[in-house]
């Protein structure tokens, strides 16, 4: 149903304009590093069947926001609610089990395991929750089959038995994402998944992301590749210096002067 809704843009009673029914709500998140306020009162929502993109210049606080949402760093204020359940007191692993998954900007594979083992581990990680299943869960064929499928879908099946150390960045980025997918999340957080891919690969992966999204996973996407972002996302949030400076439908947001200046202006300058 959500796939249809996305295609037609027809939104019955949606609380977020053009955004669908929110499944995760991030409210008033604030995170300081010593004196530096990395994110300052940031709120956003994401909805099932929608891709919400977060863009902003380098150092805007995008990655920090993801880390706070997944509980890898402790936010100083704010709350995260996933499907009506507050995540604030949960550990990272518990948040993941509640349905979050994150693919890192900077790849962090387990370097002593093959690509397939990396993904399989993620698929079976729920089995480490209880001491009993941790000790006696041995059959991992279902997880492995699932992992093989995910690798194929992301186009890195050929590297299944390779060790991550020997692979180029483009593969590792997709491994990051494969691991996140193996968790079968309800909300998938992707931090610059297209970085390090050539433009053909990037376009293909963006299509895959859109397809995964249509199957019902809410996606929040951080990405500098604006072309692909605007092609696949339905909703745009712009961060600058830790604050949300604009959000809404992509074309409207991109037209705002503040965005043009804060984001594009500086980006152009840094490229010059």
């Amino acid at each position: 149903m959500s796939a249809q809704a996305a295609a037609t843009g027809d939104m019955p009673q949606s609380p977020i304009p053009g955004g669908g029914v929110p499944i995760i709500t991030v409210d008033h998140l604030t995170m300081r590093f010593g004196g530096l306020v990395a994110i300052d009162d940031v709120s956003f929502q994401a909805a099932t069947g929608r891709i919400t993109a977060i863009i902003g210049p380098n150092g805007a606080g995008k990655t920090t926001a993801f880390k706070a949402v997944t509980g890898q760093i402790k936010n100083h204020a704010g709350s995260v609610v996933l499907q009506g359940q507050s995540l604030d007191r949960l550990s990272t692993a518990a948040r993941v089990r509640a349905g979050l998954a994150l693919s890192h900007q900077i790849v962090r594979p387990f370097r002593d395991m093959t690509v397939l083992a990396n993904v399989t581990l993620a698929g079976g990680s729920a089995k480490t929750a209880g001491p009993w299943s941790a000790l006696f869960h041995r059959d991992r064929r279902p997880e492995e089959a699932k992992a093989v499928g995910i690798l194929a879908r992301l186009g890195i099946a050929d590297a299944a038995q390779a060790l991550p150390g020997s692979l180029p960045l483009g593969y590792l980025k997709r491994l990051e994402m494969a691991r996140a997918l193996a968790l079968e999340p309800t909300v998938l957080l992707l931090d610059e998944p297209l970085a390090g891919l050539n433009h053909l690969e990037a376009a293909a992966l963006a299509d895959t992301i859109a397809a995964i999204n249509r199957e019902g996973t809410a996606i929040v996407l951080i990405e500098h590749n604006l072309g692909e972002v605007l092609r696949v996302c339905q909703r745009l949030v712009v961060l600058d210096a830790g604050r949300v400076i604009a959000e809404g439908a992509p074309d409207r947001v991109m037209a705002e002067a503040a965005v043009q200046q804060a984001y594009l202006g500086r980006r152009e300058a840094s490229h010059a």
């Binding site: 300081r32 590093f33 010593g34 760093i73 402790k74």
Partner: protein, 505 residues
């Protein structure tokens, strides 16, 4: 149904089931921990060992665990009410049990004895202290419901306390020194008090010596006692075989210890911190085993005896009958206290030398280099600091002071054996440094007074001394890993503590 207090803290409705479950699990774990080791006591009987039971003690600790956990849960949920009622009741009950004899006479004491848990009142005293701590926390949490301290805020507060203590140390130090100097002439200074004083100051000196290695240079030395032993044995051998006087042997012994420090330190100082700690522990044990087995030289387990006592700077002896006796020279009555007092001043002077040396060296570039090394060794290399030599200096100096202290130990005791130089001794000195707050001179004094002096006064505590040391080390690390009184001069602080930990990961 959540109520919000005026100060903005949400007090959730109490989930009694969850609370009881949590406390129940605690009680279960305590039961499992105590079932064998507390519940049964192995006793010596002719031809083997027998077994006694102490089920009542198990029951008591399990119940206390349950109640204590409930109290903690209530405090965590900002509901100090029941704790404010329960804890005083318990404290009073314990006090009545403990003080039954002085308060109500021996008959009552005997009558209630079967109901008093634990054979040894010290355990009950310990529990009383824990109860009082919980009570204090309850009272405090009532006072400022609003200020649930974050780790960061607590760190800042502790740091400012430490800074205040350091400022206070500026006049507290001289004051303590004056007290120490006039102490032998105070009325309460009998033989026993002086002996305790000497012991405490010896440990202060050792603590200050180790402080240079651990506190300033950041090298965890678990074998510090080895250099103490080298000093003591060098002194004893020089003094007994060659008949040199104390004042010649002392510098030699210090030199030998420093040499041992440099020789042992040279190959291992490039190791990473925790490996280095274990290696120094190995050295400490090796030296002890050698002392134990090198019979011809060290007397093995029998040790060395007949070590000469120090003279009054080589001009007078502390003996009743002697050509040039101290009391004769100054026209005093002979008293065996005179030598004790002399020893007291001797160790006080030696300790002060260490102290002055440390104060001085803190201002020298080498101290900055140590600090830099503690933070980042790679960066130091690129600044042209030679890590090994810099560390070696600290190691050698620390060892030398241990050697001095060892000489003093030898001459005071007149007898030394390997038994005095076990790992436990290293651990005690380390505990003093840790408790004193890594690098704080006054902290070492306080810690030594607490850890060494207190158990000497209260002999009943002696048994529990090491238990308390271990516990203190753990609690301090949990509470404030940088050391209880650690305070950095505000160099630039970029990140708070949390931020730094994250940046490293």
């Amino acid at each position: 149904m959540t109520a919000t207090t005026a100060s903005g803290i949400t007090v959730r409705p109490l989930d009694v089931g969850a609370m009881v479950k949590e406390a129940g699990i605690t009680a279960l774990v305590i039961f499992a921990l105590s079932a064998a080791l507390v519940g049964f006591e192995t006793t010596d009987i002719p031809g083997g060992i027998g077994i006694n039971t102490r089920f009542d003690d198990v029951a008591v600790v399990v119940i206390l665990g349950f109640v204590g956990r409930i109290a903690l849960v209530l405090l965590r949920q900002h509901r100090p009410g029941p704790v404010l009622i329960g804890a005083p009741l318990m404290a009073v009950a314990m006090l009545l049990m403990l003080l039954a004899e002085p308060l109500f006479g021996p008959e009552t004491a005997v009558a209630i004895a079967p109901f008093v848990p634990f054979q040894d009142p010290v355990v009950l005293w310990g529990l009383l202290i824990v109860t009082v701590i919980i009570l204090v926390r309850a009272v405090l949490s009532r006072r400022h419901l609003d200020s649930e301290e974050t780790a960061e805020a607590r760190e800042v507060r502790m740091d400012s306390i430490a800074a205040q203590v350091q400022r206070a140390a500026r006049f507290l130090g001289p004051l303590l020194l004056v007290l120490a100097v006039i102490f032998p002439f105070m009325p309460m200074a009998n033989r026993q008090m002086l002996d305790i004083g000497i012991l405490v100051i010896t440990y202060i000196m050792l603590g200050w010596g180790l402080n240079i290695v651990v506190g300033l240079a950041g090298l965890l030395d678990l074998g510090y006692v080895a250099f103490y032993a080298v000093g003591a044995y060098s002194f004893a051998l020089l003094a007994t075989y060659f008949d040199y006087s104390f004042w010649i042997c002392l510098p030699f012994a210090g030199l030998m210890a420093a040499l041992a420090g440099v020789i042992l330190g040279f190959p291992v100082l490039r190791l990473r911190g925790d490996y280095l700690a274990i290696v120094t522990l190995g050295f400490g044990e090796m030296i002890r085993v050698i002392l134990l087995n090198w019979y011809e030289f060290t007397g093995g387990p029998d040790g060395l005896s007949g070590i000469p006592r120090p003279s009054f700077f080589g001009i007078a002896e502390f003996s009743r009958r002697s050509e040039n006796s101290f009391h004769g020279m100054f026209g005093l009555e002979y008293s065996s206290l005179q030598r004790i007092i002399f020893l007291y001043y001797l160790i006080l002077a030696m300790a002060m030398v260490v102290n002055l040396f440390t104060m001085r060296i803190r201002k020298l570039p080498i101290s900055r280099a140590w600090e830099a090394l503690r933070e980042d060794e790679t960066a130091c290399r690129s600044l042209g600091i030679n890590p090994r030599n810099t560390k070696l200096t600290a190691f050698g100096i620390g060892a030398m002071f241990a050697g001095f202290a060892g000489s003093f130990f030898a001459t005071r005791q007149g007898f030394i054996s390997p038994e005095s130089f076990t790992f436990i001794e290293s651990a005690v000195i380390l505990a003093i440094v840790v408790l004193g707050g890594f690098g704080s001179q006054i902290g070492v004094v306080v810690a030594a007074a607490l850890l060494i002096g207190l158990p000497e006064f209260f002999r009943e505590l002696q048994q529990y001394r090491m238990l308390a040391f271990g516990m203190a080390m753990v609690l301090i690390m949990l509470w404030r890993p940088a050391g209880l009184l650690a305070h950095r001069e505000p160099t630039i602080r970029l990140f708070g503590r949390g931020g730094r930990a994250e940046a490293e990961s």
